[in-house]
Symmetry: C2
């Protein structure tokens, strides 16, 4: 009996760590049955045969599409699996949202495995859509496609033995699952202590930081995201430690970068460009990650699922064909995906008008000293002070000084609940920009030169069930990208989303948004865990103090 | 609060694969809590700190003692864990025997983990004590300390899809456990096919054989046993493949070798002597094996159990102290072990006399042509023919030609059931030798120059509940080593067993046993799976034909 498929070429044997010339991989019934020539119904020759790449840690929300649409985009690039942490969706929809993502994944040949978000909500200073407590986490950890507890961010809680986070860690351990860490700049005694409980980290940005984490036995995931690109800096670690505990991941990769550079294949290329041996880099993108999570794929041996990539060139990862479970180029024959299981009616805030957003003047008209979020770019903010004018009982923007109102409208409960402050650094000269991607609680955030423009954008986002929008009152243009699934992602092809995202960006630039990633900066201004000032539906937060502060001094 | 213990020295960091000078390992409550200096109740300095060694595959029966006594012998050598396959005990006592071994292991600080024997009985040509069918195997696989299905020997069954062996493999897979292989000289298409189902192999004797197995993704265990010593030949493989899939094991190591050379520490030394980098060799003896079976120990990282070895010298593995779960030199304070849980009344055969063993003459007195097992040494046999004399109705030994009767007395059922044939090559000039270690069915095997001498040895072994014995009629000396637990092992210190074993060997040499390992050769003459002739309680077996043959031609 001939087998279904025979691949021929130089094999990247990730098990022996060697290139094997003139190899053959025989595939039958979706499985690799021999690394030998066999009579076959179909034969494909290429220069190289490698295992499909696994993205060790990613949030599909960063790409603003559902998993099937993400798969459609990255499978042809040789990415056959992702370890997905649905952290943002969980903040909006909780346990049921995570289950919907797992359900969605069934429609794509991309092998998505999941980590259960461990830190939802981020804090109790802002109202998000749901809480994943130890009970919900434990329930989700029982799902077949769940491989780990998602990146544990509560490092002080881990170090000090806090009950909630340790209950979640124990639940994962009892099921024999991995516990992902999130340890930016964690060092010294804290690193020693938390490494007792956590298995890996993807937050290193310097070689020194990475080496210290390797020394205590953590697996290191080298990240090549959109905002954080660390592979070039970290690549020399491959000379310095046993590479079996190194993996590649994207973490957060936006739609434009996916289209231009790819998914975790971009991390592979960056690794090779920076001196990592291609076979080692393939191991980092496949078997190492498979071992981190106990996955059956990510290897090329008899008995393994036939998840393979045929390459014209290894160093540049120039893909000829992709095979998943024995199917060649599996996305090419899919013309339609089932509708997403994610809820698409999640922007529940009532319609607003300018007065719902406006900050009341403390007394009569005239100058008022206010606290201002200084948006520095790179997701950073600083404390700032400024003087704005009170007029008609409200505090107004000082557009010339780029001090503008910013509001967070709670969108989960259906009640009107708004927090407003001021922001500097967005650069708007007129109009407003808004987003229902608003980390981590994902309320509706909107900033503008007038409360009227803000309200217009907010109401439009409400009507389209969420997304990102920019409004230019001069041309009466309101450009929006609709992201109705959880108010975070779209159930549409990646390139359509990219195109519309670029249209919104163009309008934003038109009205003065200066920062390159201005809309993304806006989305992080409500994240009350990054210093120093952030805005929530409950008002302005001083993150260092973890306390609300008054806008008016 | 000071920690319990602080170790200082150069750390063999098996995670990074590097030696780290001036390291410290802080231990509290049995666990490694930091790789940093800490105030401590006790501080021990040494040249090197390494993880305790794990023997990746061994049968404690080969050392003829219980696990606690084995631990007593090897723990001081830095062996802190063994993966034990109780294959021989299972052949005598079945499921309950395996459970007894697991029970016994609780009395030793040695971390014994178990594989469930997959091939009991070896064949149906001989009557052993028990069968481990798919049901018994599945039940045992559920034990906490079980980590794998034991070495699968039925390679034709695996290749051809036989139900029984595949049911056992599936049961292991469903529990997420490893499946150990046993693939001597398996190659080509058979290797491709069976590597779909099996995870590792410890039977390679040539580099070429080992490399072929590595290519298909099998983990390789380099074996340094007593009869099979393969590490020197296989060491160059470490230059040729990713060493993370290489481990060290002993498989079968006799009591004298344990005392003189050690356990798996002897394999480590042999690896280093043959050019493997010491850090790599330590990885092969610790973390690699831990990963093969998903063990929590075998690593030196915060959160891992404190199983460590302090060494004066790394290359020679010169042990200062051993730490298990934070306890320093754990065997030193144990003065007594609880009685073994293994049954000690397992030699159930009735007493025999010469006529019970004797082969009947086909007709009157005179020469008779017979088939003879030619014992070649090295566990090998060949087919041979000879002429013996019939006298008084029985066939008798031709001592001059070294053609002697050999009998297998079934010892499990309590019924008298004897098979007798002839053997050449043992060299006895008078008397008899016997053993209740008689692979794999472990009946009572006895060979001698007269049926009377054979019966005397058999009856003595019966009285002492099993063991090994030699009888010299000239001096009326009957020397025996008593092995009452399952008729295979003793619940006594290793050096006492060694001493008594040497006494039996001395008597055997006295009466002419020529082969260096003559008593061990005897123990393998009943093993009906090694070509060409073997003796069973049901008669002579031609192994190539897998059929009984008549002794008289």
């Amino acid at each position: 009996m001939p087998v279904d498929l025979l691949l021929k070429g130089t094999l990247v044997n990730v098990h022996t760590g060697r290139l094997e010339k003139d190899s053959a991989v025989a595939i039958d019934d979706g499985e690799i049955v021999a690394l030998k020539e066999r009579e076959a119904d179909r034969v494909i020759e290429s220069e190289y045969i490698a295992p499909g790449l696994i993205d060790a840690h990613m949030h599909v929300e960063s790409s603003m599409v559902t998993l099937p649409r993400y798969g459609e985009a990255v499978l042809p690039k040789g990415v056959t699996s992702v370890i997905h942490d649905p952290h943002e969706i969980a903040n909006v929809l909780g346990e049921s949202g995570v289950r919907s993502v797992i359900e969605d994944a069934k429609a794509t040949p991309l092998k998505a495995r999941f980590t259960v978000p461990s830190s939802v909500p981020a804090t109790h200073l802002q109202d998000n859509g749901a809480t994943l407590g130890p009970e919900e986490v434990e329930s989700l950890l029982g799902e077949d496609s769940v491989v780990a507890l998602g990146e544990v961010m509560d490092i002080p809680g881990v170090e000090q033995g806090a009950d909630t986070v340790h209950a979640k860690i124990s639940a994962a351990r009892e099921k024999g699952l991995t516990v992902d860490g999130h340890m930016p700049q964690v060092r010294g005694d804290t690193l020693q202590e938390v490494s007792r409980y956590l298995d890996n980290d993807h937050e290193s940005i310097t070689l020194e930081e990475a080496r210290a984490k390797a020394d205590v036995g953590l697996r290191l995931y080298l990240r090549e995201g959109s905002s954080s690109r660390n592979v070039a800096d970290l690549a020399p670690i491959a000379e310095d430690v046993d590479t079996r505990y190194l993996s590649l991941c994207t973490d957060d990769r936006d739609v434009l970068d996916i289209i231009e550079e790819g998914g975790v294949d971009a991390a592979y290329r960056k690794a090779v460009e920076n001196g990592i041996d291609p076979v080692t880099a393939v191991q980092m993108g496949s078997i190492n990650t498979a071992e981190s999570y106990g996955l059956p794929f990510g290897r090329v041996t008899p008995g393994a699922p036939a998840d393979l990539v045929l390459l014209e060139d290894l160093e540049s990862w120039d893909v000829d064909h992709v095979v998943v479970d024995g199917t060649v180029d599996p996305t090419s024959s899919i013309t339609e995906y089932p509708e997403t299981a994610l809820e698409t009616d999640t922007v529940k805030a009532p319609a607003v008008d300018a007065t719902d957003l406006a900050l009341e003047a403390p007394s009569g008209d005239g100058p008022v000293d206010v606290r201002v979020i200084d948006s520095l770019g790179g997701l950073q903010t600083a404390r700032m002070e400024a003087t704005v004018q009170a007029r008609d009982g409200w505090l107004h923007a000082d557009t010339e000084a780029d001090v503008l109102p910013i509001s967070v409208i709670e969108r989960h409960s259906g009640e009107l609940d708004v927090g407003t402050g001021f922001v500097h650094g967005l650069g708007l000269e007129r109009g407003a920009i808004g987003s229902t991607i608003a980390h981590d609680a994902h309320n509706l955030v909107v900033a503008g030169t007038t409360y009227e423009a803000q309200a217009k954008v907010a109401n439009h986002l409400r009507e389209i069930d969420g997304g990102i929008a920019a409004y230019d009152p001069e041309t009466e243009t309101l450009t929006a990208l609709s992201l109705p699934a959880a108010g975070l992602i779209a159930d549409r092809p990646l390139d359509e989303v990219a195109e519309q995202f670029e249209a919104v960006e163009a309008t934003a630039r038109e009205i003065g948004v200066e920062q390159e990633a201005g809309l993304m900066e806006l989305a992080f201004l409500p994240l009350e865990v990054i210093p120093e000032y952030r805005i929530t539906n409950n008002g302005l937060v001083d993150v260092t103090e973890m306390a609300y502060v008054d806008v008016v001094k």
